[in-house]
């Protein structure tokens, strides 16, 4: 089954009737997944959005519950579920892989995060394969196929003028069954996507085990500004803070993105900070990406989308770090 690219707009109009459909688009100068509608022009030629789609499942600020405190100090908690039916249309295979990572974090190990789970259940993922790569793309080195995302509900492989439509889950099959007005029964050949940026991950995970005190962390962290850019543009970074705001007697408890780059992140009430300097923070971030997550969940926490490589203010480049780890000789 194929979907002619000229029919995509009509399909989006159809999909957005009952659900919020998010498409890659540049809005107010920021490339992100924006809600399809007036003033939002989908751009499926854009290789990667600046902001990842993670906020569809894990918003930068997420209200968890309201509460009020009456004059006697009595508490009432009002629970809250803002999740709604969403479609992400045009998500890339690297970002689909990031959802595999986030599913592991939020849905496994004894506790299911209900806020993530509710949004996840209501999300339909339509992945568009990549016909071209940006210079900073290195997903294939991280085990991602730029034309295939196995966990997408629907995979649209780029064949030039049309997409080859693959319904990959029950949800995807049910969805595609409704698309007959837009699709045709035909075959097409996906184009190949060549990536120029390559890293060699062979042995990196194991090698890092013995490199916790290696000098590379000092060399790397010394130029880091410890801003949160890499963590906020990263599709897999999922650290959050929990806080509250009060207005008179009403309040909300919310969670919001946080960054391991910030010193405040691990600062304890008594003033002790187990990761006091840039070195400890930078090391923790890259070890988490390339080793800790692999050990815990059996997969890398870097999907090779290249956003941090593109956006880091000081061009601190994870691909160069991977090269250095490979070349490191203790």
């Amino acid at each position: 089954m194929i979907l002619n690219k000229q029919k995509v707009a009509a399909l989006l109009d159809h999909l957005s009737g009952a659900r919020d459909v998010f498409v890659p688009a540049t809005v107010d100068g920021v490339a992100k997944f924006a809600r399809y509608g007036e003033g939002v022009q989908p751009d499926f030629g854009m290789v990667n959005t600046t902001m990842p789609p993670k906020d569809l499942l894990f918003p930068q600020t997420q209200k968890m519950y309201h509460f009020d405190v009456d004059a006697n100090g009595s508490y009432r908690i009002h629970e809250y579920d803002e999740s709604r039916e969403q479609v992400v249309f045009g998500i890339r295979p690297c970002d689909m892989r990031s959802i595999v990572c986030m599913d592991e974090v939020f849905l496994t190990k004894g506790f299911v995060d209900e806020f993530y789970a509710n949004a996840r259940d209501k999300l339909l993922t339509v992945c568009v394969g990549c016909a071209q790569a940006a210079e900073t793309c290195f997903c294939d080195s991280m085990g991602v196929d730029p034309q295939m995302a196995p966990n997408a509900d629907v995979m649209l492989q780029d064949c030039g003028d049309a997409y080859l439509v693959l319904a990959q889950t029950e949800k995807g099959e049910a969805e595609v069954a409704e698309w007959s007005a837009f699709t045709e029964e035909a075959d097409a050949q996906p184009v190949t996507c060549d990536l120029t940026l390559k890293v060699d991950m062979e042995g990196v995970v194991d090698k890092l085990e013995g490199m916790y005190d290696a000098p590379i962390w000092d060399n790397l962290s010394i130029k880091c500004l410890n801003c949160g850019t890499c963590t906020y543009v990263c599709p897999t970074c999922h650290c959050f803070d929990i806080s509250q705001d009060m207005r008179r007697k009403d309040g909300i408890r919310f969670r919001c993105w946080d960054s391991c780059m910030f010193s405040e992140y691990t600062m304890m009430a008594g003033g002790h900070n187990p990761r006091p300097e840039k070195l400890e923070r930078v090391r923790n971030r890259f070890m988490h990406k390339l080793n800790f997550f692999e050990r815990r969940y059996g997969m890398s926490l870097c999907v090779g989308c290249g956003r941090c490589v593109e956006k880091c203010p000081v061009a601190l480049d994870i691909t160069r770090l991977i090269d250095e780890i490979g070349a490191y000789d203790a």
Binding site: M64, Y65, F67, V69, G73, S74, Y75, R76, I77, E79, V105, F106, K109, G110, F111, V112, D113, E114, F115, Y212, H238, C239, F240, D241, I242, S243, Q244, M246, G251, R253, R255, D258, C260, Y265, T266, M267, M268, A269, G270, H272, P274, R275, E280, N284, M287, H288, N291, F292, F293, E294, R295, R296
Partner: protein
Amino acid sequence: MPSIEISHGCAKGERPLVPQVCRVVEITEETPDVKSFRLQTLDGKKPFDCEPGQLGMFGLLQYGECMFVVSAQSDEWVQFTVKKVGLVTEHLHDLAVGDEVSLRGPYGNWWPTEGCKGKDMLFIAGGIGLPPVRSFLLYCLEHREDYGRIDLVYSASKYDDLVFKEQLFDVWPNDPDMHVHVSLYHEDPQWDGEVAYTAPFLDSLELGPEDGNRVAVICGGPSLSRTCRESLLNAGYSEELILTTLEMRMKCGVGKCGRCNMGGHFICLDGPIFSLAEIATMHSDV
């Protein structure tokens, strides 16, 4: 070397981030800046069942929540012992009996009460490190026949900072095979006992590993932990038989928000209780 099996990542629960509203039913002023709070649900029940050493996220909706070890429990309540060190704990100290608070949990793993059966127990704590250790100590005393000789080595900066004084000086010494050793770091007019830092004090007591039949349990600040660990290793304890409970800043309590990791392990979910042998295999910043 014999080792003790510690459960990790064993806590489970639904809807982990939304607290229940509880009520403070009793407050004990342990020191000028430490109070213990007993909590029940609004209908007078125990908020949750937990094992000794597990954690609860105890707080105030207006100000935030913090993770504490359940320092004691009965069939009707759980208790947290809180030192005033920051914004939330300052507000917790303003609580009165009957006030409402938020509570979620239990989180984390628990002391290996089974694995330590038949062993002599050496508890070592400094300052506000005693409440987490006491959760295990109380269990041992409740199941007295399952454990051998019990030693508690406890230190604080000054006399006022010693928590649970009544138990320390009046209750626990009455147990025929429990030995309480207390020192202060500094001279104090209210004190005529030992003045020594914990590690040299511990050394002076010559409580050896008894051929692997004594388990050491430590909780204290970074310098106490480091020096007592060295003392125990020098005395011949194996890393497998030195247990500790760790602390880092926590927000979610369920291994998701990220900040309390030691390598790929989360103190809130996989810990807080580890043996030194386990910690040695982790990439720890703690």
